[in-house]
């Protein structure tokens, strides 16, 4: 073991706060060495509404994580989601400067800079700006370097959120003396964890249906093309059941977990289940069909909203498959429902075989994805730094021998 460095991720979720600690070994692989969880409080629909309560819970998670690997954390990679997150597409262009008409690194950088430099209205802050690919004289390509063209356009998906809410989340972390070294949209991270490179190349939409929000990300040509949030999650299902069947939220939650399904079955018509389950006074029978009908209405609407957001890509047939993850994706029959609405095969997300058995749960997708994102970023940084030295030396030699 030549060199090791610890990185951590924090996912401020509506249901849970989760910290994962990873170790970068030999600058290329990731070992997950610690984990801390806490039931979330003061967060609704992915937004922090009570910073004090949320801070207490986040602290609990961080302390648990530190205990589990007996190391103190310095910085975390923070996942952002919530009702306030939005995205838009932006193009930046540059003329190819070389006399030979070949695209150089500098041209690519100029086009990227142009795309990235769009100003946001007051009160909004960028969460991440993702390069989706390039157009060389209008022709799409993923790697433009060394190709011949007059003009290069860089396509970016820019994700931004409410400044105050982002600062709230960052302050929450910084109040424990930790630094936020990466900020990332949760949906993109979880998508990368539960899809395979082949799927991402082909065109896949990953929907992370959590407790408060559903984050989706569309990958094509191996790159994220579009991502966003629909603020509907498991809480909405529980709330719908509780209002529709006049049950307490607690009972609705347990009913949802025990008997929930994404679509009613004809055979459910005459079935009923006990609301509380203890068959005591106050317990009553609930029609299974009604409950599943309520859930079906909500989930169908959720998928419709995401379908609307993805608009042209659905019509084009660019989306080849669908992957679901997140706690709410455990509901029976949810894949069939999504398949019906999007018209493409749908499956539950599968994790990379390298990930420990106990971490292969849909709830962990975001945290693992955040860690991997932090890893790839710090590797990139490292490589860039090294390349800098090498290239300088190489340049010197090139100068000596060529001239």
């Amino acid at each position: 073991m030549s060199d090791s460095q610890t990185i951590a991720s924090l996912d401020i979720g509506t249901y849970k706060m989760q910290v994962l600690v990873g170790e970068i070994v030999d600058n290329n692989s990731l070992h997950i060495i610690g984990m801390g969880r806490a039931r979330s409080e003061g967060v609704k629909k992915g937004d922090i509404i009570d910073i004090r309560k949320a801070a207490l819970r986040a602290q609990e998670a961080i302390v648990n994580a530190e205990k589990s690997n007996s190391a103190s954390l310095k910085s975390v990679c923070l996942g952002i989601s919530g009702t306030h997150v939005m995205g838009f597409r932006n193009l930046g262009s540059a003329n190819v400067s070389g006399a030979d008409g070949l695209v150089r690194k500098a041209d690519v950088e100029r086009a990227c800079e142009d795309a990235r430099s769009k100003n946001l209205p007051e009160g909004r802050t960028y969460i991440c700006r993702i390069c989706c690919g390039f157009y060389l004289d209008g022709q799409f390509t993923v790697s433009p370097l060394g190709k011949k063209a007059n003009r290069i356009d860089a396509e970016f998906w820019m994700m931004h959120g409410d400044s105050e809410k982002i600062y709230d989340a960052m302050h929450l972390v910084e109040s424990f003396g930790l630094e936020v070294d990466h900020l990332m949209f949760s949906g993109i991270c979880s998508a990368k964890t539960v899809t395979t490179p082949v799927q991402r190349d082909d065109g896949v939409v990953c929907i992370d249906i959590g407790c408060g929000t559903s984050d989706y990300a569309f990958y094509k040509h191996g790159k994220p093309i579009q991502a966003g949030v629909v603020p509907v999650g498991g809480d909405h299902l529980t709330n719908d059941i509780s209002l529709g069947l006049k049950l307490s939220p607690k009972n609705s939650e347990s009913l949802k977990i025990r008997f929930g399904a994404a679509a009613p079955d004809e055979s459910d018509r005459n079935k009923s289940v006990w609301a509380v389950g203890d068959k005591q006074i106050g317990d009553r029978k609930i029609s299974l069909y009604s409950m599943r009908k309520i859930m079906n209405a909500r989930l169908a609407e959720l998928f419709e909203l995401i379908r609307q957001d993805l608009g042209e890509y659905v019509e084009d047939g660019a989306i080849r498959s669908l992957v679901l993850t997140g706690g709410t994706s455990r509901i029976a029959g949810i894949c069939e429902l999504a398949q019906e609405i999007f018209g493409v095969p749908c499956s539950n997300g599968r994790f990379n075989a390298a990930i420990k058995e106990e971490l292969r749960e849909p709830e962990f997708a975001t945290s693992i994805g955040l860690l991997e994102h932090a890893l790839s970023d710090s590797l990139l940084e490292l490589r860039n730094r090294r390349k800098g030295i090498f290239e300088e030396t190489a340049d010197i030699f090139r100068k000596i021998f060529n001239r």
Binding site: K44, K45, D47, I49, T83, V230, P231, V232, D235, H236, T238, N239, D240, S242, L243, G244, L245, K246, P249, I286, S287, S290, K293, I294, A297, R298, A300, E301, L305, Q308
Partner: protein, 422 residues
Amino acid sequence: MESPKTTPSIKIAAVGGAAANVLANLPPSEISNAEICAFDTDRVSISMLPFPCKLLGEDDVGGIGTGGDTELGKNAALADIQLLSDFTKGADALIIICGLGGGTASMVAPMLSKLARENGAKFSMAFCIMPLEMEGPQRMELANSAFKYLRKKCDAALRIENSTFSKTSLSEAESAFSDANKRIGSAVLSISSAITRSGLVNADIATLKRVFYDVKKRAILAIGEAEGNDATKTAIENLISSDSLKSCKRLDSAFVAFSCPHNFDMTLMQPALEAIGKRYDLQGKIKFSLRTNESQDSRIEITLLGTCEELPEESVSNNLSFKTVSESNSAKSPIEVSNEVSTAANQTNDTSAESHKKKAPRRFFSFGRVLDEPKAVQPSQGEFTFVEASARGFFSDTPANIRNGEDIDIPSFIRKKLKITP
């Protein structure tokens, strides 16, 4: 009328003709503990007041009013800015009463609020009397932009629709408006006496600040009054059914000021407060004050100041009472009217002379440092049909989640009108 140093200094500024009319209806004996001053560009409207008055911009305007010209109003205020600044200095709390939409108040009131903040006032509050809808969209727009500015600079800006009061009152213009003035005046009195601790049960400035802690919320003022047997109960009923509270299902905080005769039965207060708390889901976030009024009859007045979620503005329908107003006004000369009839009269007076060119709204409040220039008036929030909070259940305390014009926090089966049999 300098108040002693031991009590907080409270100042009441009445800006413009409409506000002067409110003051005119206040008995001077009841407000001995607050410093009052009326500001106007119109000599006539303030000359009859039993309070200290300041005429603004005499050189520019000549003491005849601005006739709705905001440029003139601005110049007048700038000419006498020292006067305004001196007034706001040393005030712990400043209450601004203004009838917005005309040339003077729309410019001077925002300036006062800004000066008060700069001079370190701890609490500022604006009672903004909005113009009637029939006075035209231009005045409404001006009033709205002034109100928005006040809302930003003051701890609380209360929007008082002229029509809200006149609709419930007698149809005869004169009594309708003097009644409205009395009510606004009594609300001002309740607040000032609560702060200066001249009442029986008082509140401090911090309490009021607490009530209006969230500037994004809409501030509301509602008044219920009754006399005779069971006056407290009837007053509460009147309060709840008043126009400003009718559209409101839930309040975030409330301050209830009781004004009652000397022989008031204290035991009646608790059920009254409980009734309000329960009705608007206040959960103990209710503050109150009590003062005795000078009148000898058994009249009880309950003033509620509170905040609630911003709702789409209700369109105000014009009915009978306004007709009488406009007719009676058109018959008289403007000056006569402004003396006799109150609020609307003064505003109508301005309207008749209103022929000024349209100005860019951005320039309205560009006095002082340019830095403080307010942003262009933003379009009001997307309106959505109001649903009972109960339909949102768990999400009732979170902002609406609008997609395709629907609040998606409301269960899908309700919006899709599916029948559910439990």
